[in-house]
């Protein structure tokens, strides 16, 4: 039995054990199967990483799954450098979050359910990243979507949570529809949907066009854009970003795992995996970069005025995902994956820290917190490191990855590249601003809550703080594997991924690189200082700005009214037509009509028919005679 197969199947086994035995047998020990499984997967992932570093790539088919005419798909696993990196991210961050959940979900009635869903999610995500064909990828894709629905709506008695789960799943469906059509096009073009033949054969189709809904479009661009549809949905880019902030209704470990480190990064993984297709379509690359860039700025501006601590971090995630897509869009896929890897650490850390805070204070509102660093020093310290990393302060992990992206955008020297470089530079200001706004409002100054709450403030138990500390180590030092050559490092990360994603074609002198680096660092520090001024020294300024610039403030606070727009354009007409047409007409009239009408008809008919049986013998005699008469008549004349 090959070792790498255990990586996805250990969590699957944990899911089955938990879902079958959790309610009665395991109860509040339900965390043991899940945690052991994912830690086991992590250990095997590390071993696999070393194997891959030594050059051993695995691309094996386990067994034939579907054979239908010319369509043949096998269940297969591909472990190359990209997969190895993703495995480490998923299992490492996942293990720490599993351990954290032991403390966070303690005493919850659905304890076993939570861990079963977490294990199922881990299984799906691992299948997604180890797939060697598009169908298995789609299987994992849908699996994580379903688990996201389960976990967001975990406290299903709360109406908002149930609605948020539905919203996430339905919005994702829009993206998945495009994704599925993309896979169909791949099959139509290449005759197979396994990665290796597709990526090798892509070069022959450059310049081919295909007739799509009446227009002649470039084949590879079409496929790339359709695949990107799925990424837009899953990674919550515009215009399908609306589900991610609502997903914060789920428990905080869910937000950390799914909506920071793993599921939402599946879109980036998809684009990086299919870099062969994207690379040959300049149109698709530009679309990716622009969508990513606009989402990034858009989300960052909203984050500056939100008051729910989890929502601030959610919009921050949207922003960072946009940055990853920008990197992929300009050709620097390795930089995008690098940022995925560092982002997993500091974003998960931010979420888990926020969970710690919520655990202590009892609510999410940042305006009613304050001065918490006296009561929760470990949480404060680790979140501070995470905020520094997110903001791109030099030295920490986030700095190196973000800098790679900004430099790649500039060095591409294309029109789109310059445009997104400007966007990224503005992000360099916003990100530290809103991150430290959150930190200062929550942890500095005086406590703004009630006395009752103040008595309950406490640091979280060790089972929750130890993962925080471990993640802080990752957020701090994780980027040191990718220090660019200009600063004296070996750029090991990019070199490691080169066999899979290639090397971007950039020209730039070291002097230019230093200049860009210096610019974005300066802007980041300006952002930090401004946050300090607004929220620590002169705290009257934000309120005054909100009052003076009321309309822009309200637009930002209401998320640019996207939800309201979708509600009126999509949701209301659908509900109306469902009620009026499908329920009112089709169900009530047609189906009920048939189901009720047929028996009534039969009853009517047989009611008339039974009167033939009069019980009188001579009547029967008449019938017999008449029958004989007609038969003889028939025999005479029609035969």
């Amino acid at each position: 039995m090959k070792l790498y197969l255990l990586i996805p199947f250990l969590p699957l086994a944990a899911f089955i054990i938990n879902i079958l035995l959790g309610k009665e047998v395991l109860r509040n020990k339900a965390h043991w199967p899940s945690c052991l499984a994912i830690i086991g997967s992590f250990i095997i992932s590390v071993i696999t990483l070393f194997d891959v570093m030594n050059g051993k790539i695995i691309n094996e088919d386990l067994y034939t799954w579907i054979v239908s005419g010319k369509f043949k798909v096998s269940v297969g696993f591909l472990i190359d450098q990209l997969t190895a990196v993703m495995l480490i991210v998923v299992t490492c961050v996942g293990s720490l979050i599993h351990i954290y959940s032991i403390g966070y979900m303690h005493g919850d009635k659905g304890y076993y359910r939570f861990f079963s869903y977490l294990s199922l999610f881990t299984f799906s995500m691992l299948m997604l990243v180890t797939a060697n064909n598009f169908l298995q990828l789609y299987f994992g894709w849908e699996g994580v979507g379903v688990c996201s629905y389960f976990l967001i709506g975990f406290w299903y008695q709360k109406r908002a949570a149930a609605d948020a789960g539905k919203k996430a799943f339905i919005v994702n469906r829009f993206g998945d529809f495009g994704f599925a059509i993309g896979i169909f096009m791949i099959f139509l073009t290449f005759g197979t949907i396994h990665y290796a033949p597709v990526f090798e054969g892509v070069k022959e189709y450059v310049g081919h066009t295909v007739n799509f809904l009446g227009w002649e479009v470039d084949l590879l661009t079409l496929i790339a854009l359709l695949l990107f549809c799925g990424a837009i949905g899953k990674s919550a880019q515009m215009p399908l970003h609306v589900w991610l902030p609502d997903a914060m209704e789920g428990p905080t470990p869910v937000s950390a795992l799914i909506h920071a480190a793993t599921m939402v990064t599946a879109g980036v993984f998809l684009v990086a995996r299919c870099n062969a297709i994207f690379g040959l379509s300049p149109v698709a690359m530009n679309v990716v970069a622009i969508v990513g860039g606009i989402t990034s700025v858009f989300a960052a501006t909203i984050a500056c005025v939100q008051n729910d601590i989890k929502r601030i971090i959610a919009y921050s995630t949207l922003s960072h995902l946009g940055m990853m897509f920008v990197a992929c869009g300009v050709g620097a896929f390795a930089a995008g994956v690098f940022h995925l890897y560092t982002h997993a650490f500091f974003k998960a850390l931010l979420f888990l820290g926020a969970g710690s805070v919520i655990h202590a204070v009892g609510h999410n509102d940042v305006q009613r917190m304050g001065g918490l660093r006296k009561y929760m020093p470990i949480t404060y310290a680790t979140m501070f490191i995470a905020a520094l990393s997110a903001g791109g302060i030099p030295g920490l992990a986030g700095f190196f990855s973000k800098d790679e992206i900004v430099w790649s955008a500039y060095a591409a020297h294309t029109g789109v590249g310059n445009f997104v470089w400007l966007l990224m530079t503005s992000i360099a200001f916003f990100t530290p601003f809103y991150s430290f706004r959150m930190m200062f409002l929550a942890f500095h100054g005086k406590f703004r809550g009630t006395h009752h709450e103040q008595h309950h403030l406490h640091e979280s138990p060790k089972v929750m703080t130890i993962p925080l500390i471990l993640l802080a180590v990752g957020a701090f030092a994780g980027g040191w594997v990718g220090i660019p050559s200009v600063l004296g490092g070996g750029a090991h990360f990019a070199h490691f991924l080169e066999p899979v994603v290639g090397h971007p074609d950039f020209h730039g002198t070291h002097a230019e690189e230093f200049r860009i680096m210096g610019t974005s660092t300066t802007i980041a520090i300006i952002g930090l200082v401004l946050a300090f001024i607004f929220y620590i020294s002169k705290t009257y300024i934000p309120a005054k700005l909100a009052k003076d610039y009321n309309i822009p403030y309200r637009i930002l606070f209401n998320k640019y009214y996207f939800d309201e727009l979708y509600d009126s354009i999509l949701v209301k007409p659908t509900m109306w037509s469902a009620r009026k047409i499908l329920v009112g007409f089709t169900d009530a009239k047609i189906i009920e009509g048939v189901v009720n009408g047929v028996p009534k008809l039969i009853g009517l008919f047989s009611g008339r028919l039974r009167r033939i049986q009069t019980g009188l013998a001579h009547h029967y005699g008449i019938f017999m005679t008449a029958g004989a008469f007609f038969i003889i008549l028939y025999m005479l004349f029609w035969r």
Partner: protein
């Protein structure tokens, strides 16, 4: 020689009269007698044809028809007796228990 068609016509006429009687009369005994009439008409037909075909099989069949008619009359009248012991009426319109 009397042509065969005359005999067949005669048989047909008696048969039709038997049918008419069966459909019309309300007295059970008369219904049974109409049935005997029909059977006799068939017998006439059979024996006439057997005579003209110079084959005895028609008469054998007529013989068996008589046998069956006798058996049927016996059983039928037994049923009538059993039925009308309960009802005390010979009017067949009154016996409507099998009315659907």
């Amino acid at each position: 020689m009397v042509p065969l068609s005359w005999y067949m016509l005669l048989s047909l006429a008696v048969f039709t009269i038997g049918v008419f009687g069966f459909l019309t009369r309300r007295n059970v005994i008369l219904m049974f007698m109409s049935i005997e009439l029909m059977l006799n008409a068939v017998n006439i037909n059979l024996i006439a044809i057997s005579h003209y075909m110079q084959d005895l099989r028609g008469q054998i069949l007529a013989f068996f028809v008589i046998v069956v008619a006798a058996a049927e009359a016996a059983i039928g009248l037994a049923i009538v007796i059993a039925l009308f012991r309960n009802r005390a009426t010979a009017h067949v319109d009154e016996v409507q228990e099998m009315k659907g």
